[in-house]
Amino acid sequence: MLRLENVWKVFDQGTINQKVALKGVDLNIKDGEFVTVIGGNGAGKSTLLNAVAGTWPVTKGRIFIDGKDVTGIPDYKRASMIGRVFQDPMLGTASEMQLEENLALAYRRGKKRGLGWGVTNEERKLFREKLAALGLGLEDRLTTQIGTLSGGQRQAVTLLMASLSAPKLLLLDEHTAALDPATAAKVLEISDSIVREEKLTCLMITHNMTDAISLGNRLIMMNEGNIVVDISGEDKKKLTKNDLLQKFADVAGVQEETDSVLLS
């Protein structure tokens, strides 16, 4: 489904700010896998997701989605295969446009944008059903300007948008980190049910170890631009928070391991 072969990313190469953010990552994710990603601050988690999304070209290595080499394809052309939700709830939606306009933009991901109507009545019906399933009462607010919704509502809408045009991959980058605990739990629940119902392959970065353990069927830990722990299947089900802390201490060489080191 998703395959990374020896992927490197160097930022500001040749300058004093040079930073090697990915150091030859190899990763193979199977269809339908739900992978949670953890690691300390600056470990390269976001860089990994951006590499997959095509935010910028990688420095070295190859990326395949569904067997197709996408290494040379920019983000907007990969978008038909990929749904994304960012940490900042403001980034995922167009605040000055209406709820239905935002959904319609997402619904046309990967299709040609011509001179047909931006939103059709059939689509409105579909959007209303999908919004009702979120259970946030948004189905009657199709023409509301997105900017007037709360952060949690916007994140839920972004999730819906990310899944709307049947992507092959869903990329979630700490998408609940900016929300209050109750809202975060709700958005996480929605994420989980969307991934299940749409049978999506998903990569989810989280700073919450409990979530990383309880959600998904595979867990990877990153450190200094590499994947250092990769657990799936029965091992993942048996995993405890203490195991994870221990593993982190092992790879990072940290003696007094605390949550804050790992979570930051």
């Binding site: 983000d75 907007y76 994304r84 960012f86 995922g92 167009a94 306009e101 300007q145």
Partner: protein, 334 residues
């Protein structure tokens, strides 16, 4: 001259007589401001190309109407001899304006030049191009007695409804276009480029289309203004971007004062035109008050600077170190 003498010298009848001319000019410059609105408000970039493309539109229209231009083009519209159709002259002005916008778009997207600088470069280049279009003369007259023109300051009362109809049609087309899939993608690009890319929108292409459409409309407005004033001039676009901003801002403030909540896009565009009319009504007033018209651009710049600055000042007032030092604005709970 005493104040009494001065006041006595102001003739209200003259103000009334000149107001319709202000309305006509306001509508035509309001159309120019619609072009500015597309880049400034929808795409969220400042495009200074307009100062050049406005004059380009005027030059192209007047040269074609007065019998110039390439022979193949004249033949194409059946005007090898006789007058080039006025509508076709405006259409060509629009197309040339689109090309001006594309140049700025390419400088920005392909060469990575910041939008403002890209616009300034195109504008500078257009000054020479416009002189070439006008065969190296800086001013070409076009007389309403000799040629069929849509609008003219000689027939103000007839020009107003014609200008209004042209502008209404263009607002209608823009209203439709920005409601289409492509138009929505352009608005999304201006509103949130990160989200737009993630939704598969080629944002560089959308910006390109926006620059092109904006300058097409600006050039079309230039073609109409040249007809109205009876000449095309290489300098006719000087200050156009700021006048456009003034109209956009006046329209913004007025529409928000009148309507609460969501404002329909067609209404917003109509208020940009109204903003142009208000601007020119003020110009007429300034002329009537016998103030020095050379100061007009100074007034315009000050007013636009104030309106652009007001939102910032308001937020500073709510959230400033000075008020923090005094114990804050006291709304922590709400």
């Amino acid at each position: 001259m005493t104040v009494i003498d001065y006041l006595y010298s102001l003739d209200p009848a003259k103000l009334l007589k000149n107001l319709p001319g202000g309305v006509a000019q306001g509508i035509l410059w309001g159309l120019m401001a619609l072009g500015v609105y597309i880049t400034f408000r929808l795409l969220n970039v400042s495009d200074l190309t307009v100062e050049g493309s406005f004059a380009t539109g005027g030059a192209v229209a007047v040269v074609l109407i007065t019998g110039g231009g390439p022979q193949w083009l004249r033949a194409l519209f059946g005007a090898s001899s006789g007058q080039f159709p006025t509508w076709a002259a405006l259409l060509i002005a629009f197309v040339v304006g689109v090309l001006c916008g594309l140049v700025t778009g390419m400088l920005h997207s392909y060469l990575g030049i910041p939008a403002i600088l890209a616009g300034i470069l195109t504008q500078l280049a257009l000054f020479s191009v416009n002189l070439h279009i006008m065969s190296m003369s800086s001013n070409i007259p076009v007389s309403v007695d000799k040629y069929e023109l849509y609008v003219s300051s000689r027939y103000v009362l007839r020009s107003i409804p014609i200008a209004a109809v042209i502008v209404a049609v263009i607002i209608g087309i823009l209203y439709w276009y920005f409601g289409t899939e492509q138009g929505s993608a352009i608005r999304a690009t201006g509103n949130n480029p990160v989200m737009s890319s993630a939704q598969g929108i080629d944002i560089e292409r959308m910006k390109m289309i926006g620059f092109a459409l904006s300058n097409g409309i600006v050039a079309l407005a230039g073609g109409l203004v040249a007809q109205y004033q009876g000449f095309a001039d290489v300098n006719m676009g000087r200050g156009a971007s700021v006048i456009g901003l003034a109209a956009v801002i006046i329209g913004d403030v007025a529409s928000k004062a009148i309507f609460k909540g969501h404002i329909n896009f067609a209404v917003k565009m109509t208020f940009v035109i109204l903003g142009g009319i208000v601007y020119y009504a003020v110009v007429i007033l300034v002329l009537w008050l016998k103030l020095n018209t050379n100061d007009l651009k100074l007034f315009t710049a000050i007013i636009v600077a104030l309106f652009l600055g007001i939102p910032y000042l308001q937020s500073r007032k709510r959230e400033s170190f000075t008020s923090a030092a005094k114990g804050g604005s006291g709304n922590a709970e709400t």
